[in-house]
């Protein structure tokens, strides 16, 4: 009971911390000066139609690299946590029913489409909403579907690791190329800018986003694979 009471007091306090703001703040009339710079220069700097992509991949590229690393570390951590626990803790009563014929055929049709969709999302990241992360998740969901449909029994760890490592390493390598061929780390302008709005534009942004997509896709699949019991 005392616990409840204190919880309520805490909640009230935090609410009182937050909610005075609601009255104080009104909709902003314009973006911050930094954002203005991004919006104005984004096109000239990187030729990216989607400014968010320009920010994510280039202006704040280091964050994104870090983000990929976080996922990578989490995937590694989770697989370490479950190492040696493959069979223990498996719910004996819980068993995936053998996938139905509909699911299996449906998956066979859908899978290529899903993968293509994922790839589409990340290579068009600089033009449309979406990008490496979203595309990567779509690919991972494709793999999930394949699990359900029984198309794959077990993840091919060697292959996934290869993709993961290669994509990650290439990402860093592309970043370093930016130092030598262009202005700085993760500068995508060592590839031609191309025509604004077309697929092959915005320098190396599509390349980077593709690498991110591959890496995120394989990392997410790894996480799902590790946390899922066979």
């Amino acid at each position: 009971m005392i616990k409840r009471f204190f919880t309520i007091i805490l909640m009230v306090f935090f609410a009182s911390l937050f909610f005075p703001l609601v009255g104080l703040i009104s909709d902003r009339d314009s973006v911050s000066s930094l954002a203005k710079d991004y919006l104005v220069q984004g096109r000239d700097d990187f030729g990216a139609a989607n400014i968010v992509t320009a920010v994510v991949v280039s202006y704040r590229g280091l964050d994104t690299l870090g983000e990929v690393t976080v996922l990578f570390a989490a995937a590694a951590g989770i697989s370490l946590v479950f190492k040696g626990l493959r069979n223990e803790g498996k719910d004996k009563k819980y068993r995936v029913n053998p996938p139905s014929e509909i699911l299996r055929t449906g998956a066979r049709v859908l899978l290529p489409l899903i993968f293509i969709f994922g790839v589409y999302i990340f290579i068009n990241g600089h033009l449309t909403p979406g990008g490496g992360f979203q595309g990567g998740v779509v690919i991972a969901s494709g793999i999930l579907l394949a699990f359900f449909a029984g198309n794959i029994k077990e993840l091919n760890h060697g292959f996934v690791t290869f993709i993961e490592s290669a994509a990650g390493f290439s990402y860093v390598a592309v970043g370093l190329l930016g130092i030598w061929l262009a202005g700085g780390f993760l500068d995508p302008r060592f590839l031609p800018m191309g025509e604004f709005g077309s697929l092959f534009s915005a320098g190396a942004i599509p390349v980077i986003y593709s690498l991110i997509g591959l890496k995120v896709g394989s990392e997410m699949s790894g996480i799902i694979d590790a946390i899922r019991s066979y």
């Binding site: 204190f6 919880t7 805490l10 306090f13 935090f14 009182s16 911390l17 005075p20 703001l21 104080l24 703040i25 911050s32 000066s33 930094l34 710079d37 991004y38 220069q41 700097d45 280039s58 202006y59 704040r60 590229g61 280091l62 964050d63 690299l65 870090g66 983000e67 690393t69 976080v70 990578f72 570390a73 989490a74 590694a76 951590g77 989770i78 697989s79 370490l80 946590v81 060697g158 690791t161 290869f162 993961e164 490592s165 290669a166 990650g168 390493f169 990402y171 860093v172 390598a173 970043g175 370093l176 930016g178 130092i179 262009a182 202005g183 700085g184 780390f185 993760l186 500068d187 302008r189």
Partner: protein, 1070 residues
């Protein structure tokens, strides 16, 4: 110059490619890991050298080739380079330890995660973008969690889960803070902040710093919201503890230093001060009650972070905080490793290297010399003292003392011998049953006593094959680097080259130990060294310094001879003793307070480890170091308020009372004044015999030296209407009465002598506090002669203990026939010590009574005289029990004490005789020493000393007394022919056959009847008080520990509470 981004690129590239690489060639990939981690060290090293040499202030890189305000910047200045160097060094160390460990080396994902941990830390240190900090924070915590899961203790999932909740919440707070910050500042880049925006006005202006700070602070595990971290520490492997406290906490502090400048200083500074103080004290208290080593270190880390917060909050130089932080980082990770090996192997006595390393790390952690933390703490306190910030000084010193309590307890327990019960053996008449391993039927071979540790071969150090292993190499390397950097840093603070001599001395003898040079040869070298030292320093000593220099050099030098009695190897013995001698000399040659205090602490440390060598010395050593630390901290606090003026320069010192009081309290603790004396008897008694002798003769005088050094500065201060010197005089006289009374009732002879020397020091203090010419002469006279006759006594008794194997007086007896030379020496010493004519002790007493009467302190004079009488009683008992009386059957064939013990006694005896017969040999020089301070009130006629109250002629006294003794002697010789000799075991004379023969021995509990009458005087009130204090602190600690309930929700609750607490500190929003 290397682009900072390479730190990130290299680590990350390695982490990403490692799985592929490992599949191809595991061995090669691990080697590549070394290369990568090494690069992480080398790059900051290059920066560090370049920045400090070429005055390049800043290495700067914006990540994308665009103006720096648009992108994320990385920057390295002097400070960052230094921190990176240390943090990456620790990382390399962890890698080498774990990737190549014997059992279950890290591989695959673990190595990947370790390099990502390093990436996170590096990123945190170099990035200049608020959101980027968040990303790196997540990187480092998540990779840590991954590593945690590999711990051998599977409770780690419980701890880790709590940690995750806490760090998840803190990152939520940090994100909210980022949102508000962006709203206010319009940018996330620390270098592109627009001017003129009021960052801290209005509700928003309070909210963003509140949440940003909450995010960072909670990750730093502040008290009272740190239980989750501690639970993780307890369950995680040692190396993870090292990572958490050595790498991550360090990086997060750097993050904090980036945020602090954004917030108005009149808000942030007090806040940090409060938060830091609370963390510092509470965490130390919580650590105090821990039985789990890892958790103890965890709390200690948290407390150290608190200290750094205090430094940051006190607005002093940020570099000090960094130095403290880095010392902590290295020492703590080193301690995690040595602790690991210690806990695997039980007692550490057979692991000399581990003992040395752990000691070094503990010392470094406590901020004692020679490590960088010492200079940093000193500077910090000087700055605080300059600002008269007494409260902060108090907090820092109190916390450091608490830290000493548990760190030295752990160290002592690890070093103590297997036979050591860890308790103080009953000081008064010991009950046989209470003494482990004692039974009255034991023969001499296994004889009996608490202090069987006689001379020679007492520490049995086994160099087993695993005494030194590959894995101790790196901690050793770290220790060496720390010592070197400490020396460099402290030199920057104000040491001169001379103060490095103690190290070279210690180092030299350590090297001799490593090559198994026999102790005897080392002793010879030490004597040569002390002679050379004497010639080297003599010319620059003057006044008191000459006198004390003589006492230190001559006293220790002569007693070195006693060490010849040791057989085989005594590792560390000579290194420590020489270190002690040299630091004592350094105290004399100090020209600034810093040098003085540095040497003082070196003296404390070397003597502490000397005590610890005893076989049953844990309790004694523990008390010794705690009280010595307390004493040192009082002195330090006093020094910090002197505005850097040397205590020896009386005239220009500030006139306020507080520093005087503090320093005097420190000195009182050091000379074991009444009330704070409980450390002295047990540590003197339980040290090895020849070491105790050095302590009692020489080391006990160092407190007196400090008094004389600041003599005029201390005098004429009025404390609540009373002259401080008057109070000090009372403390002196009470100490001497108490010391004598306590000595009276001891059965253990070393306790008797220890209490005796405490009482004698009381006289010296009394003499000093008289503040007159005569008083000072008597004090210094006693200092000199006491050194000699207590030396004789101690060494003579050492010989007895060495031959008989017991320290209990009633167990011996009749040794006069077996050990006549020792007897003569003891007899002379006793005559001198108890102040009866004709020997020099009489002169000392005579001078003192004259001075007291001259001053008009009649009551004190009476009490001093009473103490003197008591002294005669216990000394009489000593000689009576040991040398006279019945011979014991088991001691029928003991031999005279070995020559190495006798020679120093007789050297001292010759000196005592000389001084007794020709007092002016000593008094004349003393007069010249005192001349500058007080006009002379005694004069000389031939060999007569004439004061206002009478005169003293040493020669005449000698002759008269000799006459008085010789006549009865002749008479006795004549009557002796008619004496009827009784056989020793003729039980007719005993009247009954006792059940327990000892109890009927006349010497058993010799002064028991006095105890009935006067026992209330020695009621262990003081021991009770200190025990009570100990229990109180323990209970406090226990209560505080319970706050961390182990429930994840409880911890979340604490964290939320902490945020509320912070919001109140920031001024409150509602």
């Amino acid at each position: 110059m290397v682009n900072p981004v390479f730190l990130i690129a290299i680590t990350l590239g390695f982490a990403f490619i490692f799985p592929l690489f490992e599949k191809i060639n595991p061995k090669l990939s691990r080697l590549a890991g070394i290369l990568v981690f090494l690069t992480l060290v080398v790059i900051p090293l290059i920066w560090f050298i370049n920045i400090s040499n070429m005055d390049i202030p800043y290495i700067y890189s914006s990540t994308v080739g665009l103006p720096s305000n648009l992108t994320i910047n990385l920057a390295v200045s002097y400070m960052e380079a230094l921190v990176l160097l240390v943090v990456n060094g620790v990382g390399l160390f962890v890698y080498l330890q774990e990737a190549y460990s014997k059992e279950s080396p890290w591989k695959g994902k673990q190595i990947i995660l370790l390099s990502i941990v390093m990436l996170g830390a590096n990123g945190l240190i170099i990035t200049r973008d608020i959101f980027n900090i968040f990303v790196f924070m997540e990187i480092s915590t998540i990779s840590l969690f991954g590593l945690l899961s590999c711990s051998s203790d599977d409770r780690v999932f419980e701890g880790g889960f709590k940690y995750m909740l806490a760090s998840g919440l803190s990152s939520v707070f940090y994100l909210i803070g980022i949102g508000f910050f962006y709203l206010v500042a319009g940018t996330l880049n620390l270098d592109a902040l627009p001017d003129g925006i009021n960052f801290t006005g209005g509700v928003l202006g309070v909210l963003w710093p509140l949440f940003l700070l909450s995010g960072v602070l909670i990750e730093l595990k502040p008290a009272f919201a740190n239980g989750w971290g501690m639970d993780t520490y307890e369950a995680a492997d040692y190396s993870l503890g090292a990572i958490m406290s050595g790498i991550q906490a360090t990086a997060l502090i750097i993050v904090l230093t980036k945020i602090i400048p954004l917030i108005e200083s009149n808000i942030i500074m007090p806040l940090l001060l409060v938060v830091g103080s609370i963390t510092f004290i509470i965490s130390h208290l919580q650590a105090l009650g821990q039985s789990s080593f890892k958790k103890m270190l965890g709390y200690s880390s948290s407390a150290q972070i608190g200290l750094v917060l205090i430094v940051l909050g006190s607005g002093t130089n940020i570099l000090l905080a960094i130095v403290l932080l880095l010392t902590h980082s290295v020492a703590k990770s080193g301690l995690f490793y040595t602790g690991k090996y210690f806990n695997e192997c039980g007692s550490g006595r057979d692991k000399p290297l581990l003992v040395v390393l752990s000691s070094l790390f503990v010392i470094a952690l406590l901020g004692l010399p020679p490590f960088p933390g010492f200079g940093a703490k000193w500077t910090l306190l000087q700055i605080l003292g300059g600002k008269s910030d007494v409260f902060t000084i108090f907090i820092i010193l109190l916390g450091s003392l608490l830290e000493g309590v548990y760190l030295f307890r752990w160290l002592g327990l690890k070093i103590k011998s297997d036979r050591d019960s860890g308790l103080v053996v009953s000081e008064v008449v010991p009950d046989d049953d209470a003494i482990p391993g004692y039974s009255s039927s034991d023969t001499i071979g296994v004889a009996s006593q608490t202090g069987l540790a006689g001379l020679g071969g007492c520490i049995k150090v086994h160099f087993s094959s695993d005494s030194f292993s590959y894995h101790q190499l790196f901690p050793a390397l770290m220790a060496v680097i720390m010592v070197v950097s400490g020396v460099v840093f402290n030199k920057g603070v104000g040491l001169t080259f001379r103060f490095l001599i103690p190290f070279s001395g210690i180092l030299f003898f350590v090297v001799l130990d490593l090559f198994r040079v026999p102790t005897k040869f080392q002793v010879f070298l030490a004597i040569v060294a002390s002679i050379i030292l004497g010639f080297y320093v003599y010319p620059e000593l003057n006044g008191f310094n000459t006198l004390f220099g003589f006492i230190f050099l001559f006293g220790i030098g002569v007693q070195f001879i006693a060490f010849f009695n040791r057989k085989g190897y005594s590792p560390g013995l000579m290194a420590l003793t020489v270190g002690l001698l040299v630091s004592l000399i350094s105290i004399l040659t100090s020209k600034t307070n810093f040098q003085l205090f540095f040497s003082w602490e070196m003296m404390t440390l070397t003597s502490y480890f000397l005590v610890l060598r005893g076989d049953n010395a844990f309790a004694g050593g523990y008390r010794y170091i705690l009280f010595s630390l307390a004493s040192a901290f009082f002195i330090l606090a006093g020094f910090s308020m002197l505005h850097g003026i040397f205590i020896g320069e009386y005239m220009s010192l500030p006139q306020n009372l507080l520093p005087v009081i503090l320093i005097i309290i420190g000195i009182i603790i050091k000379f074991a004044g009444i009330g704070v004396h409980i450390w002295l008897p047990v540590s003197y008694a339980e040290a090895e015999n020849d070491v105790s002798s050095i302590f009692s003769t020489v080391l006990s005088k160092v407190g007196v030296y400090m008094l004389f050094l600041g003599g005029l500065y201390f005098s004429k201060r009025v404390f609540k209407g009373v002259d401080t010197m008057y109070l000090l005089g009372w403390i002196g006289v009470l100490t001497s009465v108490a010391g004598s009374m306590m000595a009276l009732f001891q059965e253990d002879i070393k306790y008797t002598l220890a209490y005796s020397s405490m009482g004698q020091v009381g006289y010296m203090i009394l003499g000093f506090s008289i503040m007159s010419h005569l008083g000072w002469i008597s004090s210094l006279y006693l200092v000199t002669t006491h050194m000699m006759f207590i030396g004789m006594l101690f060494l003579s008794v050492s010989g007895v203990i060495y031959r008989t194997g017991t320290r209990l007086m009633y167990q011996t007896g009749g040794l006069i026939k077996r050990m006549p030379l020792s007897f003569i020496s003891a007899l002379f010493a006793i005559i001198a010590l108890s102040g009866v004519p004709p020997l020099s002790g009489f002169g000392a007493k005579w001078l003192m009574y004259s001075a007291l009467l001259e001053k008009g302190w009649y009551l004190q004079a009476a009490m001093a005289m009473f103490a003197s009488g008591v002294a005669f009683l216990y000394l009489f008992r000593l000689i009576h029990s040991i040398f006279l009386g019945q011979e014991k059957a088991i001691y029928l064939n003991v031999k005279e004490a070995p020559a190495p013990l006798l020679i120093p006694q007789y050297i001292f005896m010759i000196c005592v005789m000389a001084i007794s017969m020709f007092p002016n040999l000593l008094i004349k020089p003393l007069q010249t020493v005192i001349e500058p301070y007080f006009a002379s009130t005694v004069r000389w006629e031939g060999y007569e000393v004439i004061s206002a109250l009478g005169y003293w002629n040493g020669n005449a006294v000698m002759y008269v007394t000799m006459g008085v003794f010789i006549i009865p002697l002749i008479w006795l010789l004549i009557v002796n022919r008619h004496v009827y000799k009784v056989k020793q075991f003729n039980i007719v004379y005993a009247a009954e056959r006792p059940f327990k023969p000892e109890t009927t021995h006349y010497a058993y509990n010799f002064f028991g009847h006095y105890q009935k009458a006067l026992g209330f005087l020695v009621e262990p009130l003081i021991s009770k008080f200190w025990n009570g204090t100990g229990i109180l602190v323990n209970n406090l600690s226990g209560g505080l520990r319970r706050w961390n309930s182990g429930n994840p929700q409880g911890y979340v609750f604490q964290i939320l509470l902490y945020v509320i607490f912070l919001s109140f500190l920031m001024g409150g929003t509602n």
